[in-house]
């Protein structure tokens, strides 16, 4: 019975339809969304379809500027830059999506519990957030990467022991990135969710649920969290670019993904080292990267306007 009621509630208000209409009217947001979806599809589908390889070397060829054969040129080992950008995009976008998801789950649960509990527990939980906030995220993530390096290297060595898991090479480092980035990016989400919960929990239907004898966990996750979807979606869209940026930042410093894998950060780093002789190695990955960030930000802003959420990011 409860489920039917919830469905009726969703069908009854046209918030979703309204928001969709407003979003479509925002040309920058639509362009951003189309670009990101197209890029993600290209990163996933194009390499197997075109038979591209990110590791195939052609040392005789060396670094060549963009040509008909290699659209974005080749690097010093003669590897096709376009293929490397697509493979790097897989890593960067995956880290962006998964680490944002980690941040989403932690942030929503933490914020909702803190806000609903109120009182001393709320104060203690928010104090923890304040303390982690006192340091810049990058310092924390660098610390976490130092902390996670050994366990993750051991996991990698263990994975290498199995032939059939060879596809997962380097997974340890990426898991470390998920954990380290997810561990800091949830903070803002927790704050936003807590603020929303504070206002929602005073509404009558929550009292009604409590009178019916439902436990706090059921009320939080079945009655309150579904009503938070707007701000949560918006903020997740805005988290993805900052996660991608953080990952590239780490990879640029050499603390992120390791060879043979490469993300956009490692490509930009390689490009920056070779830019005197081969500027296209910097300009290609750099502009794709900037375009992706721009698109995701436009999409996030558009969603915020469409859903009319006031979420102050920092």
């Amino acid at each position: 019975m409860f489920r039917r009621k919830l469905n009726n509630l969703e069908a009854g208000n046209s918030l979703g339809a309204d928001a969709w209409r407003r979003l479509r009217a925002n040309r920058a947001a639509v362009a951003g969304g189309v670009f990101v979806l197209g890029l993600a599809a290209a990163c996933i589908l194009l390499p197997p379809l075109l038979g591209l390889s990110y590791s195939e070397q052609n040392l005789a060829l060396g670094a060549t500027p963009p040509s008909v054969e290699h659209w974005l040129g080749t690097d010093i080992h003669g590897r096709d830059l376009f293929a490397r950008i697509l493979y790097g995009g897989r890593i960067s976008l995956m880290v962006g999506a998964v680490a944002s998801l980690v941040a989403l789950v932690i942030g929503v649960s933490y914020g909702a519990i803190s806000g609903y509990a109120g009182g001393r527990l709320d104060r203690a939980m928010m104090r923890v957030v304040d303390i982690i906030y006192a340091l810049p995220f990058t310092i924390f993530v660098i610390l976490m990467m130092v902390f996670l390096k050994d366990p993750m290297d051991r996991l990698d060595a263990w994975l290498r022991g199995f032939d059939w898991l060879s596809g997962l090479q380097g997974a340890g480092r990426i898991l470390g990135l998920f954990a380290a980035i997810g561990a800091v990016e949830w903070l803002t989400m927790a704050r936003i969710v807590r603020g929303q919960v504070l206002s929602i929990k005073k509404l009558d239907y929550i009292d009604a649920a409590r009178v019916l004898g439902y436990g706090p966990m059921r009320i939080i996750f079945r009655h309150i969290v579904p009503n938070l979807l707007g701000p949560v979606i918006v903020f997740t869209t805005l988290t993805i670019p900052s996660v991608i940026l953080l990952e590239s930042f780490l990879s640029f410093l050499g603390l992120g993904v390791d060879a043979p894998l490469s993300s956009w950060g490692t490509l930009i780093k390689e490009g920056a080292e070779k830019m005197e002789d081969a500027p296209w190695l910097l300009i290609g990955p750099g502009s794709i990267f900037a375009l992706t960030l721009l698109s995701l930000n436009f999409l996030g802003d558009g969603l915020r306007d469409a859903l009319d959420v006031r979420s102050g990011k920092h």
Binding site: A134, T138, K149, D150, L255
Partner: protein, 326 residues
């Protein structure tokens, strides 16, 4: 005002203590000590090394000793500048211990040599951020919806989406390699400061321009501005005499995050431009797992950021006294 400052200062002590404790135990619990990465250290040598750095002691004792060495025991700020750079030991009796990588140097010496470089870089970057961002934002707000506004806004969006580690190499490519106007790396002459400071500052200039524009537009739509206009005040006087002070509030509250961002940005900038600052040192020490150096640097950053944020908060309350009670 005094009570506000005192309360905030007292609040920072537990925060610093928790950061210190968490970092200390996190680093000590990492499997493998700082000497395991070096090649072929015999067990005897390892034992001696551990004994030398006190790493063979119980963890609790190490922690207590570290904490005691950190406590300020003297107060002589005038001695801060006696040696080369910042002498924390002479001034406050703060001892950050020994580096396990650069065995002949104390962390105090490393910090003394490298912190001033990073502070100078950060200072120039903030100057660029404010010097470019504020005028741009004011101009965009005053000439709203003209080509000037659109140009300034696209510049801001560009600055936000092109990260420092793309912008830096691009600026080097254009101004150092192609045009040969400025040096591409180093930290010796005044001209060496230009590219790093501009790279680091541009991102924040973009944010500040956006915030200034938004803040000014909010204020410009208020009644007292209309009154000023009705009384015949010139546009210049309306913007600078009446609107600017209120319009700058969001910019001041952004300065806290901006300072933290400049510090983490310095990791990348100092790597790109080969600047011998603390940021590059921090990244290197994370690489080398030079645990005492990582710990000392994180603590220093925490103190720096919390202190500067406190300063920003005080300025904010001074500009807008209503905040005191929130």
């Amino acid at each position: 005002m005094f009570r506000f400052i005192a309360r905030r200062l007292l609040e920072t002590i537990p925060v610093l203590l928790i950061i210190l404790t968490a970092t200390f135990f996190m680093i000590r619990l990492v499997p493998g000590g700082p000497f395991t990465t070096e090649r072929a250290v015999s067990p005897e040598v390892l034992k001696n090394l551990n004994a030398y750095y006190g790493l063979d002691r119980p963890l609790g004792e190490q922690y207590a000793r570290y904490l005691w060495n950190l406590c300020p025991k003297t107060f002589a700020p005038w001695r801060l500048f006696e040696g080369d750079g910042l002498d924390l030991k002479a001034a406050f009796g703060i001892d950050l211990g020994y580096s396990t990588k650069y065995t002949n140097r104390t962390i105090n010496e490393i910090v003394a040599a490298k912190l001033p470089v990073s502070l100078e870089l950060g200072g120039w970057a903030l100057l660029v951020a404010l010097g470019v961002g504020l005028p741009l934002g004011v101009l965009a707000a005053a000439r709203r919806n003209t080509w000037l506004d659109h140009t300034a806004s696209s510049f801001a969006m560009l600055g936000i989406c092109v990260p420092t580690f793309v912008m830096g190499p691009l600026l080097v490519l254009v101004f150092a390699i192609t045009l040969r106007w400025l040096p591409s790396s180093g930290w010796y002459f005044p001209s060496d400061r230009v590219l790093p400071a501009v790279t680091l500052g541009l991102v924040y200039a973009a944010y500040i321009a956006r915030l200034t524009r938004g803040g000014l537009l909010d204020v410009l739509s208020q009644d007292y501005i209309r009154t000023a206009r009705a009384k015949g005040a010139s546009e210049l006087r309306v913007v600078f005499g009446h609107a600017l002070r209120g319009g700058l509030l969001p910019v001041v509250s952004f300065l806290g995050p901006a300072i933290a961002g400049v510090i983490s940005g310095s990791f990348v900038i100092e790597t790109i431009f080969q600047i011998p600052g603390l940021g590059r040192q921090f990244v290197e020490s994370a690489f080398n797992r030079d645990q005492p150096l990582v710990l000392g640097t994180v603590l220093l950053y925490a103190v720096l950021i919390i202190g500067l944020n406190l300063l920003v908060d005080i300025v904010q309350v001074w500009l807008n006294p209503r905040l005191k009670f929130e």
